[in-house]
Every structure is written in structure tokens, then in C-alpha cells.
């Protein structure tokens, strides 16, 4: 069974934000009204964390794209009262929108603040001037949603691979952010497959995961020069 994982090379990443836009377009993530957005209800499945370090003028700005980490030992699924979020056999942490009761316990339990909530009806903002990706369902008011590693793509890829009776090739199934990244900083694939790029990247000397000490086993690896 494959285990999908991601590696983000922060030495390549410039923090341009293309992954955020790609994600929103791919997954029909609602654009909230401006005043809601300012209140902190912006919905990004792929978020960008900015941290400052160093002393002036030796300032370092670390920008870090942050999807859901699809933890192997997810703290969010454990607390869900109705099983609306769970980790499947392939390591994807799923969110079942039609079962979610909107208690937001999973959001509270997630140490990485990876989930977002539909505070209002996602009837997009006035005029709704957009087109939707027909591969992804739209959510309804009052449910939690989050990055799915574009699992709708996996469905289609699996279908083709099964039909041709072959395993899924490395790079055949990648989420929108990895596909679009102008710096090629996002690697994605089956981490159990020793030939995959993400397996190689996860073993790189620069690779680490966020807050490994928590023991939640995130499946998103960050690659960053240790001495910078």
C-alpha cells in the first residue's frame, strides 16, 4: 500500500505564493468576504508561514508553505466525535464533509492549525465570478475542511493505473501545489517506494519535519540548509 508524502525544499522555495493560489483554484476553496478575511477567516488549505530571524541587517525571512501534514499519528482524527476525519490506509488524512458536525474539535486539536472552517455559507463572494473544478465537491456552511493532498486526483490516477494493471508511477499523482510550483520545490509521491523522489528527499541530510518531538509523525518533510 502506498503512503503519500510530501517534501518541500525551502532552499528552492522563494515564497512566491503560487502554491496557495493553485490550491484554492484546484479545490474550490471559498474566497471569503473582505471583512471576514480581515477578521481571520481566510481559508487557505495551503498557508504561508513567515518567520523572521537574525539581527538587523542580517535579517532572515523564512517563508514556509504549510499544507496539512497528513500525520501518521494524527491528533485531529483521534478527537473527532463522529469519524468525519480519519486516516486511511494510504496515509491520507481525510475529511468527510457530509459527516462533519462542525464541532471544530479537530481544528483545536491540530498542533499545526491546518484546518479551516466554513464560518458562513461558501456562496462565494458577491458575483461569484469563478469557475469550479468539477473534480472537487463544494463544501457547505458549518463544516471543517483542509488540504486533501488533492486526493481527487489520486482517484483518477488509480483508475487509469488499475485499468492498465500497473502501479502508480512516481510523479503521476501530484497535488496542484507541487505541479505548479515555479521553483520545483515541492516533491510528492509514495514514501514507501524507494525509487520515488520524495523518498530520496525525505532521507536528505537537510530534511526534517515540523515539531517532530510531538510524535504526530507528519508526512511533510521540509528541506532546509542546516547552517544558514
Amino acid at each position: 500500500m502506498a503512503k503519500w508524502a510530501m517534501a518541500i525544499d525551502l532552499d528552492r522555495c522563494t515564497g512566491c505564493g503560487a502554491c496557495m493560489a493553485a490550491c484554492k483554484m484546484e479545490n474550490n476553496v471559498p474566497i471569503v468576504e473582505p471583512d471576514e478575511a480581515l477578521q481571520g477567516r481566510v481559508m487557505h488549505w495551503m498557508d504561508m508561514i513567515t518567520e523572521y530571524g537574525g539581527d538587523y541587517p542580517g535579517i532572515e525571512i523564512k517563508r514556509m508553505p504549510k499544507p496539512c501534514f497528513h500525520c501518521d499519528n494524527p491528533p485531529c482524527t483521534r478527537v473527532c466525535p463522529v469519524g468525519a476525519t480519519y486516516r486511511n490506509e494510504e496515509g491520507l488524512v481525510a475529511q468527510v464533509y457530509h459527516r462533519c458536525i462542525g464541532c471544530r474539535y479537530c481544528m483545536v486539536a491540530c498542533p499545526f492549525t491546518a484546518k479551516v472552517f466554513n464560518w458562513k455559507d461558501p456562496a462565494w463572494i458577491e458575483g461569484a465570478s469563478t469557475c469550479f473544478n468539477p473534480d472537487v465537491s463544494r463544501r457547505m456552511v458549518g463544516v471543517v475542511e483542509k488540504c486533501t493532498f488533492c486526493s481527487h486526483r489520486l482517484m483518477k490516477v488509480k483508475e487509469t493505473a488499475d485499468e492498465e494493471d500497473r502501479p502508480i508511477n512516481d510523479g503521476e499523482y501530484v497535488p496542484a501545489c507541487a505541479e505548479i510550483c515555479p521553483a520545483d520545490a515541492i516533491y510528492f509521491g509514495d514514501i514507501e517506494d524507494k525509487g520515488s523522489s520524495v523518498y530520496k528527499m525525505s532521507g536528505d541530510y537537510r530534511a526534517s519535519r515540523v515539531m517532530e518531538d510531538l510524535g504526530v509523525e507528519p508526512k511533510v518533510y521540509y528541506l532546509v540548509k542546516r547552517t544558514r
Binding site: A18, A22, A37, A128, C131, A176, E179
Partner: protein, 818 residues
């Protein structure tokens, strides 16, 4: 009674009645015609991809549009297109929102009340074109063809030719493009002789020092540079960014050198001092291929100081440090690093050139490349070839047209402020207002939004009001087109034909084909076709500008040149991996197509053509200056000054260079004025902070503001959606009693704006930075009324030589709003 079981249960269940259950169907929210909705609803969901070129910024990325049953649903990068290789920026990814924008005009519009009233009535294409054509014919009949002007923005290549041909056949010299990037070539032309913007060999350079050039976020093609940058670790390239504010590029650089705005040239010369003093410069290149390095004597025998003497005499590190705020040690270090690292590269843009002294600063920066012998060197500076497109056939010019074209363009005036500018909106507006040298009767506005993007909106707004017929091609009404009498809405780039080729600074010649991926959603037309139609309607020799049935034919005609040249190849699969090697080796590739039809088919299928092969040029064929060399002393600038001298003489001023220079507000005197030097920016003394503006990826030149997603992502780096902000250094903020997310007034001598403070250490303590792109008063429902436009508080200053807007020449004061 028609009660469905589900409704009934819902009724009985009660609880869910008030809640909207489930998402809405796709067609409920799309702004698309019914015929397309039917397709989506009943179609099998067949997925197709069509390649075209993104038209939202000049970057020219190849995109693949994903269509389900023929309806575009998403965009990704064309993985084979060499500029972006599948990469995209956030703005381009969002292009479909532009296609489906609810405020797009559904057809031509005629204004029925005052500008800004928002009162428009629909008009048919035929009527609209008739009004314009009649007016054009009338003017031409009265020998007044020169009273027609086209104000373009940043169009290049075919579209520029197309409009130029129309104007030539019609008989008017007044075709201008106001994009600030049009002025970028001026300093290059002074040094190199030709006005081509150089490209940089990023992949082979080991050290890249960028003076204010935010190439990852703002340059001509950020995606292209991001691709290049992404290899820096394995290639061990070192990046150093000299900039007042820590831009996206600075944040990714290995080192950020903060510098006072308006002093980039001084730092470059300070580094030149180190290079020269420590003999770290490339003596072979400087000796053989430059002019004006050593002291020299002109034909009359008078002695002139060379670059070496001037630099050594004026730009010693202590002084430069005082001017720039960069520590002496850092200057020495930078100079030594540049001198001692083989394949070190210098480039300048952005803050370095967006100032009154921009031209001289850019000359100073490029001088470093000359000192380092970077021209045509590996990891250096080179000039790309032009894509061998077939030139369009000449137009017929009758006597009226010839006379009209010969007359003085509306942008020049007796006291031309900018000697080397093609166009300055400043003098354009003044001339229109003064009817000097002649009145303007018809103005076409093509792309861009001058009232939002330039520094002197007020003059230009007055000018717009004065013109009897203003025609705009905008598809969403913006600040400028509010003043138009007629709007002939253009297709979005996803519905129209076009090409984007040879994007400046991209290191190979390329030709990207823009083709409609979907039939036009609304009753819009391509502007190329509109000009063709106008040419037909005006008739006579003007008809020769309508040589092609439609714009597609024109693109096809131009592309035939690529096929005939036998060079390069249609972009194709399998380039991704060896791409870097391609660039490094400058390899060669040929296509497999026997006829042009096959070539054309391939071109449409794959989205473009490119030629990675480039013959290395000899240094003596590189420069087209009078001396044929790189000119530290610009003879072109010198002759330009002399020309002005003659001109001033006519008006009876005293006859010396000094009067010209003072007229131009250039403070340098003598030879200095023709050479790279530090020209102090005339800052006002009574305000403590420098105002700096920058563009953000999701917005770029203000165009992204129409898109809701881009508005939301606008401040993604500081978490400021839909809102402008001011970046302030922690020390400054503490002194002003400002904390994060406080509202502050940023106040200049022109006016003030209210923005949210974002405290970031990545900025100089005496600099405040506001992003550009927000603060629209028009431009659709999403743009209007969010954030501020920092241009409104900027002094109306421009580059003394090129006329480029001086975006960093204003000082401000900040205070907390109570």
C-alpha cells in the same frame, strides 16, 4: 401536490430547514452563457488541454488551460514552454477569474453622463465603429490625421507593430506606450548603443549582486527567474541583494545589504572604486572594449577625465558609506567579493532605477559589469537574439499620412524635460491641455490604467476630459476608462489571438502563441481586429493597414518567419530535464516539420517556439555606440545634450552645457553628467522617512486587483488580505508608538494615506514601504474601495533622463491614527 420525499422528510425533520444543505450546482454561480452551461450539465466530462500564453503580465509564461467539455476550468503551467517550464505565479493561475469576471463588459458601451458617473448604455459594434470611423475619416479629410493618438501600455512585438502600422497608414506620429518599463532601455542604450535590455547568465554565475532588482517578484518574468533561482543550491550560486526593503528576492538572497533609497548608483561606484583601486577589474575587457575609462582627449584636444579618475576621486568608500548608509567594510567586502569571485554578475532594476537618478544609477551598475568583463562572458551579460518573425508588409502612405507622421509628436515640447524618453505622460498631458503644438481629437486607450498607475493622475484626468473622443478597449471599466466616451471591450487573452515573444531578460529567443481556448463569452472583439476594421472603414490607403483578414492571419504570417529561418524548434515534450544543460551549452535543436502548415499546427498544439541556440558574439560587434565600445562616457548622451543646447539656443538662453543641465535639473556638471555618477535625489528635508513602494506577486501592476482571489492573497506574506499595509522597522515603530496592525497615517507633502502598520525587521529604519496595486476607485466590484494607492501621495518626479516615474523620491512622516 409536488412534494418530493426528501423535502417531506426535511419538513418533518425540521432542524435542517433553515440550513443550506450541500454546495450549489456549478451553473448557479458561473457567469457564463446558457449554451455553455448546457454543455457542462450534460456533457461526459471530457478533459482537454489547450496551450496558450498568459497575458496578465509581460512575463509570457506558457499555460495549459484545462477544459472540461470545452469549458475552461483551471490553468496550469505549460510544462514544455521554456520560459516557465510548468511553473506559474499566483496571478496567472487565477486568470480564469478574469475570463468569468462578473464586471466584464458584455459588449460595447457608450457613456451617457459625466465621467465617473458610471452611466453607460450598450451600443452595437457597428454603431460604435461607425462613430469612430466617421470621426477618423473626417479628421483625415481635414488634414488633421495627427490629432489622433493611441496610448498603449506595454505591448510589444506584433501588437505594437499592428498599431504602429495603423497609425502610419492613417498618418499620426502619436502612438505611445506609457509603461515605465518602456524607459528601462534608456541607460542601456547610453552605454551599449542599442536599446536592448540585456539578459543575464544566471545559471553559470557564481555570485549575483542585485541592485534593487526584485527579479523573483517584480521583474519582467518572475517565474523564469524563480526557475533559475531554484537551482542556486546545487549550483552554489551566491546571491546578494542591495535594497532598502527586504523584498521577495532579498528574503531569498544569501545576504541583504540595506541601502538608503536613491543612492544605489553611489554604492555601485563605491564598489567600482574598490575594484579599480585593488586592481580587481578585467583589464583586458576594460582596455580593449570600453571607452572613457582612462583619461582621454577629444578631437579638439581638450582633456577629459576618465571613469577611473572620477571614481577614484569621488567615490572612496567612506564617502559612499556616508551617502548610502552602507558600512565601509561592507562596501570593501562587496567589492572584493565581486572582484575575486570568478563569474560574478551585477544587475540593477527596481529601486535602483525607479528614481530621479535612475538612469545614472543603472549606468553605474552596468559599469560594474564592464569592469568585471562580464559582457558575453560565461555567467555574465549578453544580448539575446530576436525571434526571426516575418516582418509585416509595409503600409501604403499617402500624402496626408506622410505629412501627419512627419509632424511633431504630442509628447515633445519646447522645454522637453526628459531628453531620452520616448514618452512622458507628464508632457503628453500638458500638451493636450495646452493644445500645443496642436489639439488632440481622438485618443485610443489600449491596456494599462494611467490614472491609477502614473504619478500625475490629475493632469491626465483633465486632459482626458478635454479630448472630444476617447476610446478605450478595456474589458472591465477602470479609473481611466471611466473617462472614455466609448468602450470597445477586448477579449480576454483566453479568447483572443496574439503572441508574446522575446520577453526582455529571458535568456533565449522565443515566440509564444496566444490562441483562443474558448469562444468569446461575451460580445467582445480583439483589439487587433478592431484596428483592422477601422482601417477598412476609413478606406483609402489606410486600408493597407488591413492587409490581413483578421489578427489570427497576422500572427500566422509573422510565425512563418520562424519556420523559414530554419532555426530553433517548436517547444516540445522532454525538455524539462536537460533544460539547464541546454541553456548552459546553448545547444541546437531542429523540428520535424516539412511544411509551414505542419509547423503552425505544432505551434498551436505546443504553445510556442524557442531557440536556445545562440551564437556567441565577438565583443566588437556587441556595442553600437559611436565608439563601438562600452562607453563609460556616453557620447550619445553628450550629443543629446548638445542637441538640446541648440534647441535652447533658439529660445534665447545662454549657450553652455550648464544651462542645459540646470534646465534638466541635473546637478552634475561637465563630463560627470555624461558618465555614471551619483546624482542626489531632491528629497524634501522636513520629513524623516523615505517612501518605497513595491509590487506583490498576486497583483503586479494593479491589474490583479480585479480578481477576488488575488485581493485575498494580496498581503499573503504579512497576512493582510484585501488591505494595503505599511512596512515599518521595529525601532521606528517603537519610536512612533506604533504596534503591529495599528492604523497609521503616512503623510507626504502631497497628501496622506491611512494604512495598517506591519512591523517587520526586513526594512531600513528610516524607510516605510507600501505595496502598490490597491486603492482602486473603479475597476470592478472586487477592486473598488480596498486599500490605498501610494502613488497618490508621491511627488510628481521622474527620472531626469529617461522620464521614468521616480517611485522612491518622496519622503513621508508616519503617525498613529487616533
Amino acid at each position: 401536490m409536488e412534494i418530493k420525499r426528501r423535502d417531506f422528510i426535511k419538513l418533518v425533520g425540521g432542524t435542517s430547514v433553515s440550513l443550506a444543505v450541500g454546495g450549489c450546482a456549478m451553473d448557479e454561480v458561473l457567469e457564463i452563457p446558457d449554451r455553455l452551461i448546457h454543455r457542462v450539465r450534460t456533457g461526459p466530462g471530457i478533459e482537454t488541454w489547450k496551450n496558450t500564453i498568459c497575458g496578465l503580465c509581460p512575463g509570457g509564461c506558457g499555460i495549459s488551460v484545462r477544459m472540461v467539455d470545452g469549458l475552461p476550468v483551471s490553468i496550469r503551467g505549460n510544462p514544455h514552454y521554456p520560459v516557465n517550464l510548468g511553473g506559474m505565479c499566483s496571478l496567472g493561475l487565477n486568470a480564469l477569474h478574469m475570463l468569468y469576471h462578473p464586471d466584464r463588459l458584455k459588449g460595447p458601451m457608450k457613456r451617457t453622463a459625466n465621467p465617473g458617473s458610471g452611466r453607460w448604455e450598450p451600443i452595437t459594434w457597428d454603431e460604435a465603429l461607425k462613430i469612430i470611423a466617421e470621426r477618423l475619416t473626417e479628421l483625415r479629410g481635414g488634414q488633421k490625421s495627427r490629432q489622433v493618438a493611441v496610448l498603449g501600455y506595454d505591448e510589444r512585438g506584433l501588437m505594437e507593430q499592428h498599431i504602429a502600422r495603423f497609425m502610419k497608414a492613417y498618418g499620426s506620429p502619436n502612438y505611445f506606450r506609457f509603461s515605465p518599463s518602456q524607459n528601462d532601455m534608456v541607460p542601456h542604450s547610453l552605454l551599449h548603443g542599442h536599446s536592448r535590455i540585456p539578459a543575464y547568465d544566471f545559471l553559470n554565475a557564481k555570485l549575483i549582486v542585485s541592485f534593487g532588482s526584485n527579479f523573483l517578484g517584480e521583474g519582467y518574468s518572475p517565474v523564469y527567474y524563480t526557475k533559475l533561482y531554484s537551482h542556486h543550491r546545487e549550483l552554489q550560486t551566491q546571491y546578494i541583494q542591495v535594497e532598502s526593503r527586504m523584498s521577495l528576492t532579498a528574503a531569498n538572497a544569501d545576504k541583504w545589504v540595506p541601502i538608503r533609497p536613491g543612492t544605489y548608483g553611489a554604492l555601485a561606484l563605491g564598489i567600482a572604486y574598490v575594484l579599480i583601486r585593488e586592481e580587481l577589474y578585467d583589464a583586458r575587457f576594460v582596455g580593449g572594449s570600453t571607452f572613457g575609462f582612462e583619461d582621454w582627449a577629444d578631437r579638439s584636444g581638450s582633456r577629459h577625465l576618465g571613469f577611473r579618475s572620477i571614481v577614484l576621486g569621488n567615490y572612496y568608500p567612506e564617502k559612499v558609506s556616508e551617502i548610502t548608509g552602507v558600512p565601509t567594510a561592507a562596501i570593501l567586502e562587496l567589492g572584493r567579493l565581486l572582484g575575486n569571485t570568478p563569474k560574478s554578475l551585477v544587475l540593477g532594476d527596481g529601486g535602483a532605477v525607479d528614481n530621479t537618478n535612475g538612469t545614472f544609477a543603472q549606468m553605474a551598475v552596468q559599469s560594474l559589469n564592464a569592469l568585471l568583463g562580464n559582457y558575453e562572458a560565461e555567467g555574465g551579460v549578453f544580448f539575446t537574439d530576436q525571434a526571426p518573425v516575418r516582418p509585416l508588409p509595409d503600409v501604403e502612405v499617402d500624402a496626408v499620412a506622410a505629412a501627419g507622421s512627419r509632424s511633431e509628436p504630442l509628447t515633445s515640447s519646447r522645454d522637453v524635460p526628459f531628453p531620452l524618453s520616448d514618452f512622458s505622460i507628464e508632457s503628453f498631458a500638458k500638451n493636450i491641455l495646452a493644445d500645443s503644438p496642436y489639439p488632440l481629437s481622438v485618443l485610443f486607450l489600449y491596456h494599462g490604467n494611467p490614472l491609477f498607475q502614473t504619478l500625475n493622475h490629475l493632469d491626465f484626468a483633465g486632459a482626458l476630459k478635454k479630448i472630444p473622443l476617447v476610446v478605450s478597449f478595456d474589458s472591465i471599466i477602470n479609473e481611466t476608462s471611466e473617462y472614455a466616451h466609448l468602450i470597445l471591450p477586448e477579449h480576454t487573452f483566453l479568447e483572443s489571438w496574439g503572441e508574446i515573444s522575446d520577453v526582455p531578460t529571458v535568456g533565449f529567443s522565443h515566440f509564444g502563441i496566444q490562441q483562443p481556448v474558448v469562444e468569446p463569452l461575451h460580445d467582445t472583439r480583439g483589439t487587433g481586429d478592431v484596428f483592422t476594421e477601422l482601417a477598412r472603414r476609413v478606406g483609402g490607403t489606410v486600408k493597407s493597414a488591413a492587409a490581413f483578414t483578421d489578427y489570427r492571419e497576422e500572427v500566422r504570417y509573422a510565425a512563418e518567419g520562424l519556420f523559414r529561418s530554419g532555426q530553433g524548434a517548436v517547444v516540445a515534450k522532454g525538455q524539462k530535464q536537460p533544460w539547464i544543460e541546454f541553456l548552459q551549452r546553448r545547444g541546437w535543436q531542429t523540428g520535424r516539420y516539412a511544411t509551414f502548415d505542419e509547423f503552425w499546427e505544432q505551434l498551436l498544439l505546443n504553445g510556442g517556439w524557442w531557440n536556445p541556440a545562440r551564437k556567441k558574439k565577438n565583443l566588437d560587434e556587441l556595442f553600437t555606440t559611436p565608439s563601438g565600445k562600452f562607453e563609460f562616457f556616453s557620447q550619445r548622451l553628450n550629443s543629446e545634450f548638445n542637441r538640446l543646447l541648440l534647441k535652447l539656443d533658439e529660445t534665447g538662453s545662454s549657450r553652455n552645457l550648464e544651462s542645459v543641465l540646470s534646465r534638466l535639473n541635473i546637478s552634475a556638471r561637465g563630463d560627470n553628467a555624461m558618465m555614471p555618477h551619483h546624482e542626489a535625489v531632491p528629497y524634501e528635508g522636513d520629513r524623516p522617512m523615505y517612501l518605497v513602494t513595491f509590487q506583490v506577486m498576486p497583483n503586479r501592476d494593479g491589474a490583479g486587483a480585479a480578481l477576488p482571489l488575488m485581493q485575498e492573497l494580496f498581503g499573503y506574506s504579512v497576512h493582510s488580505p484585501w488591505e494595503s499595509w505599511a512596512e515599518i522597522h521595529p525601532e521606528t515603530a517603537a519610536a512612533a508608538g506604533v504596534s503591529n496592525d495599528d492604523w497609521v497615517w503616512v503623510e507626504s507633502s502631497i497628501g496622506n494615506v491611512r494604512v495598517k502598520a506591519k512591523i517587520t525587521p526586513g526594512i531600513m529604519p528610516d524607510v516605510v514601504a507600501i505595496p502598490f496595486g490597491m486603492g482602486h476607485t473603479s475597476y470592478g466590484r472586487y477592486a473598488r474601495g480596498h486599500g490605498v494607492n501610494p502613488n497618490t501621495i508621491m511627488r510628481n518626479l521622474h527620472d531626469l533622463v529617461s522620464g521614468k516615474p521616480a517611485l522612491e523620491a518622496t519622503k513621508v512622516r508616519i503617525s498613529r491614527t487616533s
